[in-house]
Subunit: 112 residues, 2 copies
């Protein structure tokens, strides 16, 4: 079970989820954004393997369980208002299901 002191600090959506930003250790690349329920967060904290909750499939999934593109979790932080997590990970292979390194590689709306 998720530590009650942590659970008490989470501010969840109506669906019981908290947003998770996933960043590559060392380089700082933002790899993806996903969602966690309490059980996904607890599994992530205890195993150091990033685990999320799929809103489309309505189930928990361990990142890389089918693709092999797992995330080893170095660090987890909660933001000031309790509704966003930051995971610092080591990404094996591509983070994106398209095969791109990150989910933000393909679509640039505004260029530097």
């Amino acid at each position: 079970m998720l530590d009650p002191a942590v659970a008490a600090r989470l501010k969840r959506t109506a669906d019981g989820l908290v947003c998770a930003v996933v960043q590559q250790h060392g380089t700082g690349e933002v790899l993806m954004v996903a969602w966690m329920d309490d059980a996904a967060l607890e599994e992530t904290l205890t195993t150091r393997q990033a685990t999320y909750f799929s809103r489309s499939r309505q189930q928990r999934w361990r990142k890389g369980e089918t693709s092999g593109h797992t995330q080893y979790v170095h660090e987890v932080r909660l933001d000031c208002d309790g509704d966003a997590l930051l995971l610092v990970v080591d990404q094996a292979g591509a983070a994106c299901h398209t095969g791109d390194r990150t989910c933000f590689d393909a679509d640039v709306l505004l260029k530097a």
Copy 2:
């Protein structure tokens, strides 16, 4: 008005919002997570001043309009499934309303 070609790629929450991850240019620090409606995104893209939609106040706000802690936007990217934005910004002063540099500084759930 937001470019219809961009608007068509957005996958919004039931409230009409898309999640925005905000990252410091150069260092890669993740500063905060906020939300945007179409109008906030359009204002951000045209002015390069980060503008969000406050879910608690139910209104648009330009980051730093009261605090002075503005964000100059270098780059905006949309993720592979259209429900998360990545903004690369220059943050003036603290990103967090607590005075911390980032909203993720204070609460570490899992240490490296």
